[in-house]
């Protein structure tokens, strides 16, 4: 039996892992594997060297910076979701984790791996259709195909694939920092710069050098996040990617004005979508349903839709207004 040649190497240290990947052109880190093994078996990704990082000492959760948390990249989603400091300080993040995938997948999937989760676009995953993300320059089948679940924000003429993560939505709202170690040393990437919109290069999803390993995610202290929430709307009651999800953390002052707001959306963007426009439209203004609706309108002003997914704009706006109204009441 001669198979597609793949070498498997379990790294004993971070340096060993980084050296192994960076010295080999077709190599990849392997964390939980719940996306990567799937895509490997679908022939969508074809690494010839898999560097298993599951033995690296990166499963920790520890306090940093007066109330922030540093999450090791190999911490499992199920462990992070139930960690008391996450539940207390960032309940919306815990909820996002528990609403993602299934218990079995959360037990295997790592936090660092989740940051590198690939899209569920069926044209990307089929390994055959024209897809600029999988095969640059081949075209985008989704633009004129079956695109009910495709993104309406952050799209380009080259790609409308939706980012699938739940917890990343929470993390963009929380201004997390992605910490890496690569062949050129350590790096810290603000999370919103970590997720690249497709623009003209949908195949490039992150500003990572080959061999650069995510080692931790820093979540800064944020008192308002102690009342944060994550609401996920989907066709079936569980075990499905979001139609629209909303992460919110809001403080309304005594005068009834929005004093602080973190708002991010899942299911609608090519990246985990921080709703900056909506935040700007609301901060300092009265927390009223009318203002929530105006803020939602502002967020989706540039939405680009297809006949199949145009309902998502209305759906998402209503979801935002409902979420902020419920938080306020």
């Amino acid at each position: 039996m001669t198979m597609r040649p793949i070498t498997f190497f379990r790294a004993g240290s971070i340096d060993e892992a980084v050296a192994a990947v960076s010295s080999h052109p077709d190599s990849a880190f392997l964390a939980g594997g719940t996306t990567e093994i799937d895509l490997l078996r679908l022939n969508v990704v074809q690494p010839t060297l898999l560097v298993d990082v599951n033995d690296l000492p990166l499963t920790y959760l520890e306090d940093v910076d007066d109330g922030g948390v540093r999450i090791g990249a190999m911490a499992r989603m199920s462990d992070v979701a139930r960690a008391p400091r996450i539940v207390e300080r960032y309940p919306g993040m815990s909820q996002a984790l528990l609403l993602g995938a299934s218990e079995q997948l959360r037990n295997m999937a790592s936090m660092g791996g989740n940051m590198c989760q690939r899209t569920r676009c069926s044209y990307f995953r089929d390994g055959q259709s024209p897809c600029n993300k999988r095969e640059p320059g081949s075209g985008c089948s989704a633009l004129t195909g079956i695109n009910r679940g495709h993104a309406v924000l952050g799209t380009s003429e080259q790609c409308i694939a939706t980012h699938p993560s739940d917890v990343a939505v929470a993390l963009v709202a929380l201004d997390a920092m992605i910490r890496t170690i690569g062949p050129d040393g350590t790096n810290a990437i603000p999370i919103e710069r970590f997720f690249l919109r497709p623009a003209d290069t949908p195949s490039i999803e992150h500003p990572l050098a080959h061999g650069e390993l995510i080692v931790a995610i820093d979540v800064p202290a944020l008192p308002v996040a102690r009342t944060s929430r994550y609401v996920k709307h989907r066709d079936r009651a569980s075990y499905e990617f979001a139609l629209v999800s909303v992460f919110s953390a809001m403080r309304v002052d005594d005068a009834g004005n929005v004093a602080e707001l973190r708002l991010a959306l899942g299911g609608v963007g090519t990246v985990p979508w921080r709703a900056h426009r909506a935040e700007e439209a609301l901060i300092g203004r009265p927390a009223t349903p009318e203002n929530f609706a105006a803020a939602a309108d502002a967020e989706f002003a540039d939405a680009r839709t297809t006949p199949m997914n145009e309902f998502m704009v209305t759906f998402a706006k209503r979801a935002i207004v409902r979420e902020l109204s419920e938080v306020t009441s």
Binding site: G33, S102, Q104, M108
Partner: protein, 155 residues
């Protein structure tokens, strides 16, 4: 590559394993343990649920190499002995309540329920429904499976 792991309490070895193989493939095709089922191949149905180092996972999405040196328990390893009275309480509850139909989801569900009851001895109905959302039953015997979980929890 050679993969060595402890499966259902015994050290097992598989040689000439292709690193792209799944743990599920190793269990079913190399180690003669067909209990965990190959149904969706993509982590979407839970039929291949096994314990990996004590955590239930979808064996179809675990690379064989990831299991190297780890401990695996499959549905075949849950009962302390053969014979109906020797079955695990979850297996007995599935039989008693009629929670088994075509049987293809059953092994994965039994592992998932076994884990659920270890974490939460008296889960509420909503907790059961959510905890088992990753295990599809197409027959679809969800109501009977709920009964089985409730029965197992009290037996």
């Amino acid at each position: 590559m050679r993969v060595t792991c402890v499966v259902n309490g015994e050290t097992r070895e598989a040689d000439d394993v292709w690193p792209g193989e799944s743990l599920l493939f190793v269990l079913r095709e190399r180690l003669g343990l067909p209990g965990a089922k190959n149904a969706c191949e993509q982590g979407e149905c839970g039929s291949c649920t096994v314990y990996l180092d004590g955590q239930p996972v979808c064996a179809c999405l675990v690379a064989a190499g990831q299991a190297q040196g780890r401990t695996v328990t499959t549905v075949e390893g849950l009962a302390p002995g053969s014979g109906e009275e020797q079955l695990d309480r979850v297996q007995r509850a599935f039989l008693a309540t009629g929670a088994v139909q075509c049987g293809f989801c059953t092994p994965g569900l039994i592992v998932a329920v076994h884990d659920l009851l270890a974490r939460d001895p008296a889960p509420s109905d909503p907790d059961i429904r959510e905890a088992l959302a990753g295990n599809l039953c197409r027959c679809t015997g969800y109501e009977k499976i709920m009964e089985a979980v409730r029965l197992a929890a009290t037996s």
